[in-house]
Symmetry: C2
Subunit: 420 residues, 2 copies
C-alpha cells in the first residue's frame, strides 16, 4: 500500500476527475464495476472462504454470519451495484427555488462531498456497496474494513478498481487500506481538509474511539439498541409476529431488536406464547422481575436481566424483556436506553401510535411494523451505505443522495445589493 498521505492525495485527484464526468459516464463506470465483480466471482468467494476458515472461534455465530459471503449474497452485492448504476444521478439535480423580487433566480445544485472514509467491521458486502454509492455521487472513497474480512475485502476492492480502469475511470476513486495498524484509523479521522467525511460503522468501542480522535466531520453509523413496545391496545398475534421478526429474522444486524417492552396489562396474555416461540428459535430471554415471573410461571425459561442488558446490542439471539406501566414508561425507557436507531410500537390505538411516532427520537420510528424495515432498500431509497445514527446531515439509511451537499446557484442580470 502507498502511504496514507499519498493515498489521500490520489483519492482527491480521483474525486475531482470523477465529479467532472457526466451522469451517464458514472453509470457506465458502475456497470463496468458490476461486470468486474461478476468476472471475479470465484476469486472473491475463495477469499471469503479463507477469511471464514482463518477466523478465530471466538468470533461467534452472529459475527460469522456477518462475515460470510455466500454465492447468493455475492449475487446480492452485484445486483446492488447494478441497482446503483440504474439510480438517477444525484449530481444532475438542480432544484429551482424561484425568482426573487429583484429578478435573481435562485436554485440549489447537488455536489459531491469529496473524499469519504468508511471505517467498518465484518461485513464484506459493505466494501462493494460503499464503493458503488460513493461513485454514483461523485465522491472518492477510502475503505478501512475489519481484519477478519481482509482477504474478502481485498478481492472485492481489486475487482472494483479493475472495473473502474476498464471504464477509463481513475481507480483511485476507490482505495482500501490494508494496513491493520489502528494508527491508520486515527490518521484518517484527523486528516482535516483531506477527508471530508468519515463514516464509522460499528459498535460502542469504535464509536468511543471516534469520539476520542475524530477531527474531521463524522456521521456515525452506531449500534442499534432497538426497541419493540407492545401497547395495551396491541393485536397480540401481530405483536408476536413483529417481535419474532425483529429479533430472530437476522439477529446479527443493527436493526434487529434488543429489547421488548410490554404494557403490564397484556403481559400475561402475550409473554407465554411469544416466549415459547422465541425459545424454540433459540432466543435467550433476559427479563426483569415482573416479566420473568410470568414467563417462568408459564414454564418458559428466562434469565434475570442485568442492568447492562438494557444498553447492549446483543448481535445475536438474546432478547431483553421488561414490563412498563404505560406508554410513558415505554417512552422513558427508550429515551434512556435507545441509541436513536429504530423503535417500533404495536398498537391499535391511533393516538398512542402517533404519540410514539412523534416523541421517540430515532432514525426510524415504526407503527405496527418490524424494526427490520429500517433499511435503505426497504424504505425505498435503494442501496445504502449504512444507517446514520447522527441527526446531522442524514438520519437513518443513507444512499447516494445523502452523500452530496447542496450549493446555492444564483443567476442575475447585474443585480447589486442596496443599503442594509
Amino acid at each position: 500500500m502507498a502511504t496514507l498521505d499519498a493515498l489521500l492525495s490520489d483519492a482527491r485527484a480521483a474525486h475531482r476527475s470523477l465529479a467532472r464526468l457526466t451522469g451517464p459516464e458514472r453509470t457506465a463506470a458502475l456497470e463496468s464495476v458490476a461486470r468486474s465483480l461478476a468476472a471475479h466471482r470465484d476469486r472473491i468467494l475463495a477469499a471469503n472462504a479463507d477469511d471464514l476458515r482463518l477466523a478465530p472461534d471466538s468470533l461467534g455465530d452472529a459475527m460469522r454470519d456477518r462475515l460470510a459471503l455466500t454465492p447468493a449474497r455475492l449475487d446480492g452485492v452485484i445486483a446492488a451495484v447494478r441497482e446503483v448504476a440504474a439510480m438517477p444521478d444525484p449530481l444532475d439535480e438542480e432544484r429551482d427555488l424561484g425568482t426573487r423580487p429583484n429578478g435573481l433566480r435562485v436554485a440549489r445544485r447537488r455536489i459531491p462531498l469529496g473524499v469519504v472514509a468508511v471505517i467498518y467491521e465484518a461485513r464484506p458486502n459493505v466494501t462493494a456497496e460503499s464503493a458503488a454509492l460513493t461513485l454514483r455521487s461523485g465522491n472518492a472513497v477510502v475503505l478501512r474494513g475489519g481484519s477478519e474480512a481482509l482477504r474478502s475485502n481485498l478481492a472485492l476492492a481489486a475487482a472494483v478498481r479493475e472495473g473502474l480502469s476498464a471504464a477509463g475511470v481513475d481507480p483511485n476513486a476507490v482505495s482500501f487500506i490494508d494496513d491493520p495498524d489502528r494508527a491508520r484509523v486515527t490518521e484518517l479521522l484527523q486528516a482535516t481538509g483531506r477527508v471530508d467525511l468519515a463514516i464509522p460503522r460499528g459498535g460502542h468501542a469504535l464509536m468511543a474511539f471516534v469520539d476520542a480522535h475524530a477531527r474531521v466531520p463524522v456521521i456515525r453509523h452506531g449500534a442499534g439498541v432497538c426497541h419493540v413496545y407492545v401497547d395495551r391496545a396491541a393485536d397480540l398475534a401481530m405483536a408476536e409476529a413483529i417481535t419474532v421478526n425483529a429479533k430472530a429474522q437476522r439477529p446479527g444486524v443493527c436493526n434487529a431488536a434488543e429489547t421488548l417492552l410490554v404494557h403490564r396489562d397484556v403481559a400475561a396474555a402475550l409473554l407465554p406464547p411469544l416466549g415459547r416461540r422465541l425459545r424454540a428459535l433459540g432466543v435467550e430471554l433476559r427479563a426483569d422481575e415482573a416479566s420473568r415471573s410470568i414467563l417462568e410461571g408459564a414454564g418458559v425459561p428466562a434469565a434475570a436481566a442485568a442492568p447492562a442488558d438494557w444498553d447492549t446490542e446483543f448481535m445475536g439471539l438474546i432478547l431483553a424483556v421488561r414490563l412498563v406501566d404505560d406508554l410513558d414508561g415505554a417512552l422513558a425507557h427508550i429515551a434512556a436506553h435507545g441509541t436513536e436507531h429504530s423503535a417500533a410500537i404495536v398498537t391499535a390505538d391511533g393516538a398512542a401510535g402517533e404519540r410514539f411516532l412523534r416523541e421517540v427520537t430515532a432514525s426510524c420510528v415504526l407503527l405496527n411494523a418490524s424494526t427490520r424495515f429500517n433499511d435503505g432498500g426497504e424504505l425505498g431509497l435503494g442501496a445504502e451505505i449504512g444507517i446514520s445514527t447522527s441527526r446531522m446531515h442524514a438520519f437513518g439509511p443513507m444512499s447516494a443522495r445523502e452523500l452530496t451537499a447542496e450549493k446555492f446557484v444564483v443567476r442575475g442580470a447585474g443585480q447589486v445589493r442596496g443599503a442594509a
Copy 2:
C-alpha cells in the same frame, strides 16, 4: 452564571419542553420575545453604547461597525424576530415518501437537533436572531458571544429570556455564557452528548481553535474569502457595479469580496475606471504585477499584493486584484484560495457562466450578481443563523429548517420482513 454543566442540563430540559409545544405556541413565544426586545429598547441601546465606548481603539472601523447596534439595526433585529415568528413551523412538517409494495407508508418528519451552541464574535444582532431561529425549530441555544459585545449581548439575552417567561416558556431555552474564560468554549466543544451541534462563526483563529478542540458535531460559519471574476465577455459597466457593491457596500461582513480576478483581455478597459471609483470610496488596492502596472499607468495608486493577501479576509476596505489568462486561471485561483463561501462571475458568455456555476465549490456561486446576495433573507430563506461553509448538513445560509433533522416514520399493519 450557573456552572456550564448546570446550564447544559437546564438547556436540555428546556429543549424537551419546547419541542413538545405546538407550532402556534412557539409562534406566541417568539412574538412575546419581540415585544420584550421592543420594551427593553433603551436599555439595549445604552448597553451597546457602553460596549462601543469601552471598545479598544485597536478594534478597527469594520469591527466597530459590526459591533454597533444603531436604533435602525435594533429595529431590524426586532423585525427579524417577528419574521421568524411568522415563518411556517418546520416541526409540523411531515414529508410523504409514498407507500411501499408491501403496504408500508413511509414519511419523514422534522425534529429539532437538540441543544445548539453558537460561538460568535462581535455582532450583537446574532444573539437575538440565533435565539429566534433555534426557538422556531424547537432547539435550545447556548450563546457565547465576543467580549467586546458583552453588555449588548447580556441586555439582549435578558430581554429574550423575559419574553419567554412572559409566554410561559422555560427561559433556559436561551442561555448566554458571560464567563469570558476561553475554557468555557473548550468545554462546550467537548460536551459530547450534551451539545448536539456547535456553530462557530468567525475567522481563521476561531476555526483553528475549533479544529483543535471540537468533539461535538460542528457546522462552521467560517471566513469568506470571496471572489469576483470578470470574464472576457463581461459587460464592463456591470462588472464595475458588481465589484464596487461586493467590496464596498458593507466591507465588514463575510459575503463582501476580497479578491477581484480579471481576464487579461479586458483589464486595460476595466481597471482604470473601476480603480478610480474604488479609490474614491476609500478602497486600498493590492494588485499583482500585471494589474498594478495597468492601474498605476492610469494614475490609480495600488500596492503590490503579498502572497498572504490572496488568503486574507480583510474585513475592511482592501481589495486584492489579479489578472488571469482565462476562465481556467480564475477557477484554479478560487480553488486554491477561496474558503468555499461565495464566488461570482460577470460574463455575457452563457457557457462560461454555467461552467463557473458548476465547477466552483462554494456555498453560493453567482452569475452576474454581487457576492453580497449570499444571505438568508436575500435568497428567500428568511432570517439566518449564519452562513455555513461546511458542506455537511447545510451549505450556505441556515434558517430554522436547517436547524432540524428528519427521522423516518413508518406506518404499517403488521408487516414483517422476509428472508434477506
